[in-house]
Every structure is written in structure tokens, then in C-alpha cells.
Amino acid sequence: MGILNYKFESGNILITSLDGLLNWARLSSLWQMQFGLACCAIEMMAASASNFDIMRFGVIPRATPRQCDVMIVSGTVTLKMATRIKRLFDQMPEPRYVISMGSCSNCGGPYWEHGYHVLKGVDRVIPVDVYVPGCPPRPEALLEGIIKLQEKVRKESLAKKTVPTA
């Protein structure tokens, strides 16, 4: 995606309609990194289960980072795990997105002040696209996060990676 950065500042009809198609493809097929960290992972699993069924949005868990589009950081990011998360994120091919799920990965959550072993927010190691609050968030809250991410992807363009949101 980087090659075309800022080459079509104004954009034209061809680019925009192609953008629409490609964005549609990307946003409706967000394959998820199959890993969970802590209690939020339980809710993430619940979101995949029958009642909430995250697959309705095209989110399929893939075991290998090479085939993933979105990483759902679900749970407490300990300092030890942070390096692994960083590595997994680096292994994901572009375009890639990150959803930070739950208080712990948003900002350290209950451990933000005295947790000597917890990373105070996963955005200190990888760029986060959507923060889903909750401790843990309801499965619906995660689904809402996915929808939010889809909105963000929809606004992207081939020429510019992200349109700055107002």
C-alpha cells in the first residue's frame, strides 16, 4: 500500500470506486489472530460462539500471523508477553489492524498504578486502531469494536493509507 502514498491527492472516480471495492473486500474479511491473553479472551471466545457469532462480519480465527488482518489484544499485556505481541504483530503482513480489547490492554486497567509486571497499554508497543473499553467488554462491545474498525477501513484509500478522522 505504501507505494501509492500521496500520489493521488485529489483522487478521481476510478481510484475512488476501486477504493470502495478494495476497502469492502478488506473490511468484510478481517481474519483474526487466534490468540487470547487473559479474561477478555473468554469474552472473545464468547463473541465467536453461537449467540454472538463474530463470523457474521467475516472474522475468522487463523492460527498463523501470516494470514491475519486483525489482532485482537484481549487481556492483560504482561511485560513478558509484550515482546511476543510485538513479534506477532511484526509477522502480520500489511494491511493489518489492532483492536485493543479491555481495560488492561487499553491502559493497564487495574494494574495501571501498581502493576510492576504489566505494560501500561498495548499501544506502547504496537499501534492500536480501536480501543474497546470494558473489564472485560461484553461480546457485543467487541462486535461494536469490529464495526468501528470496519468504518475506519471503509474510509481508507489506495492513495493515502488513512484519511485523518475529524
Binding site: N51, R56, S103, C107, W112, V130, Y131, E144
Partner: protein, 191 residues
């Protein structure tokens, strides 16, 4: 002989158990799905669901009880004393408000939804609502500011308090000086 019998029994067991499993899955295939299609259909939250915090700032008396109760210190409250001439009114529970609340921030990103802040509140102004869909692109948007006071109002209140304090201090100083004077004169009289 026993081995041969086990061999064939195992094969039979495998086939029959596969058939049982296939029967279960095919029956579920034709059964209607139980999925709640989230953005279109939403689950009704139970009555005591604990989700996002809400503060009715009109009722807040700035007692700081909730901030003290919070196990993760996600509530920050600053208060300014009201001067005697100001009447801040009463809360809906009948408590008299004596403090301005220029800052009432809750960092929802830190909040762990335990609900401990709700119980000590004397005016029941901090409550847990059933709103759970509020994800953000930027983490700083998750810091919710509930105070209704505008910056000039805060400055005003601060200035008033300062003035009142100065006046009080001056009065005190004057009283102290008068007392000193009195003491001195009494001493000199005695002397």
C-alpha cells in the same frame, strides 16, 4: 481370540459412534440458529448490569467518597469551597451543596466496572448504566469529563474563594492584631 474380538468391537464402536456424532450435527444443521444479530437486534441488559459509569453532576456534592472507594483510582475530583454568599442549592436527595466541582474525570479505560464507587455516594449521583458500546479510535477520548463548570466559572469561583479567604485572613489578622494590642495594653497597665 480376545484380541480379535477387541479389534472388531473397536471398529464397530468407531463406526457407530461416528454415526451418532453425524446424527447430532445434521440435526443441528436444520435447527434455526440461536444467534442474536447484534447491531440489528440487541440483548436487553439485566436490571443491575454494570457497564459505563454515569455521573449526574447536578447532584454531586464533591464529597470524594467515590474516588476514595475506587480500587484503581480512575476517578479524579477537584473541589472549590463555595463562599458563604454563594448558594449552590440542594441535591435531589436534600443534601446541601457546599463545594464547587470543577473537575470530575473518570478514566473509563482504567475503570474495572466493579461498582464500588456507587455504594458510598450519599446522593446517589454516580451510577452504572447499561451502555456498553463506546469503543474509541483514540484512548484519550475514553477519559470522561463530567464537570459542568466552564473555565471562567472555575476561575470565578477560585477568585471568589481566594477573595473570601483573603478577607477572612485579613479579618483574622485584624482580630489577632487587636487581641495583641489589647494584650500589650493590659501588660503595660499591669507593668
Amino acid at each position: 481370540m480376545e484380541a480379535v474380538r477387541t479389534y472388531f468391537r473397536d471398529i464397530w464402536k468407531a463406526l457407530s459412534s461416528i454415526a451418532v456424532g453425524l446424527n447430532v450435527t445434521i440435526r443441528h444443521l436444520v435447527r434455526p440458529a440461536v444467534t442474536i444479530q447484534y447491531p440489528d437486534v440487541k440483548l436487553k441488559m439485566p436490571e443491575r448490569a454494570r457497564n459505563r459509569l454515569y455521573v449526574n453532576i447536578d447532584d454531586c456534592i464533591g464529597c470524594d467518597q467515590c474516588a476514595l472507594a475506587c480500587p484503581v483510582d480512575c476517578i479524579t475530583i477537584e473541589t472549590i469551597k463555595a463562599t458563604p454568599d454563594q448558594d449552590l442549592g440542594v441535591t435531589s436527595t436534600g443534601h446541601k451543596k457546599r463545594l464547587h466541582v470543577p473537575r470530575f474525570d473518570i478514566d473509563i479505560a482504567k475503570c474495572c466496572y466493579c461498582g464500588l464507587c456507587v455504594y458510598p455516594c450519599p446522593t446517589e449521583c454516580i451510577v452504572m448504566t447499561d451502555v456498553y458500546e463506546f469503543s474509541e479510535f483514540d484512548r484519550h477520548n475514553l477519559i470522561y469529563q463530567f464537570s459542568a463548570m466552564k473555565p471562567d466559572q472555575i476561575d470565578d469561583a477560585k477568585a471568589k474563594l481566594k477573595k473570601a479567604e483573603e478577607e477572612a485572613a485579613a479579618k483574622k489578622a485584624a482580630a489577632a492584631a487587636a487581641a495583641e494590642e489589647k494584650k500589650k495594653s493590659e501588660q503595660s497597665k499591669q507593668g
